[in-house]
Subunit: 413 residues, 2 copies
């Protein structure tokens, strides 16, 4: 008998009919003898409806504490509905808010972090044979104020509960049937992965594969909670996200190809190469709340260097203006920007032990005549920036080069 | 500087615009230097929407604990919106759920009773100069389960908070500008009362003047909380409901005329007049959860008596069937029923010290040729049952006979 934490997102509980389907699904798990803790989000659309009301009443500037008070009701409705759907089916169940199971967070309203969970209350209800339904996305601070974890926080609630309860698995039900080698809309031959490591998943997620919230994957990795991504309404094993330990002999070098077309590139040229110059450039950018992704600085010539970084598209104009000012101040030669770029990354723990992965990547791109504008690497990832129009071509070329393509069933016959 | 508890119902906070209006109103009170605790209901329609969802998911049989979990979110949204509206206007404010201010109730879900309120938290926030906005209608039991007080329970929350905080006044804002001598739709000359006692208000309310929830008036009387009924969006002094103490010299004998056309009359004739017969008749009626209002039994003839009582119209058929069975069992002569009746009552603490009030009532009705079918009296009330078609005529005749008519302004000129 296993203890499983299951998380269902907003679209999975978006209507009375869907909640009934989720209840049926849970009932079957119970009949298999598993102990089940369910975490649910608000019905899809509900959180936005509430935020809209708050904006109307505050001329667009909701008060964070009160906003949390309000939007946390979305999940509270869903837990009650799901518990009722289960009880109506003869499955004993009970619902709890974040406060009731003491999901203690810090006091950073609208993006609080979980500090501690009291597993006792849930444990007692499980012992009585009940399915325990917990509101995702919400907690309570030490003063009793209701907090929320920010968008997608229900994944984090699921993982945190699984960690606190020492659950055998945390299952995240969503609208895809697993994690893919890359986006199937770009590469029709993309394959569902049976397994992926936490680290790989982090790289995939942060690079634009939006299956799971990054924080929940970090959390799962930190507490070693096996995480499984599954489709809410289709059967299938999904993708298991775990530690690296059970590495199989045939582990591929690369697990997947991630990409992001929503970034822009900024370059400041002819920067006097003195200590502290990187901070002088990035300090004002970060002070303006602009997130920077890739940063590349190359060796200097004639005591000057070039400094390039990427930002999200909506921040581009703002970042460009700031950078012009900095260039004048520090005496740099010029500032250049480009919004027509895309980032493509290969991700895989396998590359740690395989030499030549990067060169194989560059070779594949060169064969297609794709010029590389920037390169950045980590232990399990190589990212390149290319001209945006080459994005699909680059992803497909790399998917084939690293032998990720699904077998062609026509040839099997 | 007074401490005032103000309660706004669902229609008063039924839209963003109305919440803004309520916030403006509260802001003015604050500027006068009063400390304000506000109790609000869910936005009108919201509670029904949630109950509907619960019914859909449970084939019409919602689970009480989960239903409370769900419908309590209605008020939670309103408190947050009102607090935000206040803060946006520069009025410091903070919202609290029933749980957060420890409105401790018993565990009778969907109709819980308040046991205790912790006034400390609210007191601390008031000291910091904040308007405290509390969710009406909800509480928490000793195990931390969310409970609700039943329909109209927000009035009770307001009064209970006023009692716990020793507030100077509890103001109930509603869609009428006070308590009237009778229904102005029946008697155009009906007047707003400046004052009425708790006892009178209880008699008026239970007899069909649905301005305030009965429980809240009982509560206010028990803890001597001055209660004022006011219009949400019109200026005016409203009606103050207090103890009898400050009785003025000119206190009228009768404060108001209440009436109810939603009752039916049942008579069992020729009942053997033996001890315990009243229980034999009413026991099964009450066992069937039928509420009985007036009960009249007259002196017996030939060792048999007649027994008459009234029930709410929806219970009439059921009660009639039960009564037939009882008649057979105890050997009564016959059972008769009548749905075309109405109850008219005169209410006033003044009648305690004035003889002849009842006879003055009967005289006024006789003058109009209205036959009285039943009479029942209490210390501050005389009720009669008349044929339904005479209801309006009876109320107008009594309103004039007891000098309740508003002065005719045409004659003043």
């Amino acid at each position: 008998m296993a203890l499983i934490v299951q998380k269902f997102g907003g679209t999975s509980v978006g209507s009375v009919e869907r909640i009934q389907q989720v209840a049926e699904k849970i009932k079957k798990f119970r009949e298999n003898g598993d102990d089940i803790v369910v975490v649910v989000s608000a019905m899809s659309g509900e959180t936005n409806r509430l935020i809209d009301l708050a904006k109307q009443i505050t001329n667009g500037k909701p008060v964070p504490r009160e906003l949390d008070m309000m939007v946390s009701t979305g999940e509270q409705v869903t837990i009650a509905l799901l518990a009722m759907a289960l009880i109506t089916r003869g499955v004993p169940a009970v619902s709890f808010t974040g406060n009731q199971v003491r999901i203690l967070t810090d006091s950073t309203h609208t993006k609080a972090r979980i500090l501690q969970i009291d597993a006792q209350k849930i444990g007692a209800e499980l012992k009585m044979g009940k399915v325990v339904v917990v509101a995702g996305f919400q907690g309570v601070d030490e003063h009793g104020n209701i907090t929320t974890l920010g968008r997608g926080g229900s994944d984090t609630t699921g993982v945190a509960l699984a960690a606190a309860l020492k659950a055998d698995e945390c299952q995240i039900y969503t609208d895809v049937d697993g994690v893919y080698t890359t986006d199937p809309r770009v590469v029709p031959k993309a394959r569902r992965l049976e397994r992926i490591t936490f680290e790989e998943m982090l790289e995939m997620a942060s690079l634009g594969s939006k299956v799971l919230q990054i924080r929940s994957v970090e959390f799962a990795g930190k507490y070693n909670v096996p995480l499984r991504v599954l489709h809410s309404f289709q059967e299938g094993p999904g993708t298991l996200i775990t530690l690296d330990e059970e590495e199989s002999m045939e582990q591929p070098i690369i697990s997947g190809i991630a990409f992001n077309r929503d970034e822009s590139k900024l370059t400041i040229r002819g920067v006097p190469d003195t200590p502290g110059v990187a901070f002088k450039i990035l300090g004002p950018i970060s002070a303006a709340n602009i997130e920077v992704d890739m940063i590349v600085q190359n060796v200097s010539h004639d005591n000057t260097t070039d400094f390039t970084f990427t930002v999200n598209n909506p921040d581009y104009e703002n970042a460009l203006g700031i950078l012009q000012g900095i260039a004048d101040e520090i005496g740099a030669r010029e500032v250049k920007g480009n919004v027509s770029i895309a980032k493509v990354s290969i991700v895989g723990v396998g590359m740690r032990s395989h030499a030549g992965v990067a060169s194989r990547m560059f070779e594949a791109l060169a064969k297609e005549g794709i010029n590389i504008q920037m390169i950045s690497t980590s232990e399990i990832k190589v990212s390149v920036v290319v001209e945006e129009k080459y994005l699909e071509l680059a992803v497909r070329a790399l998917h084939t080069a690293f032998e990720l393509d699904a077998p062609d069933h026509r040839q099997d016959a």
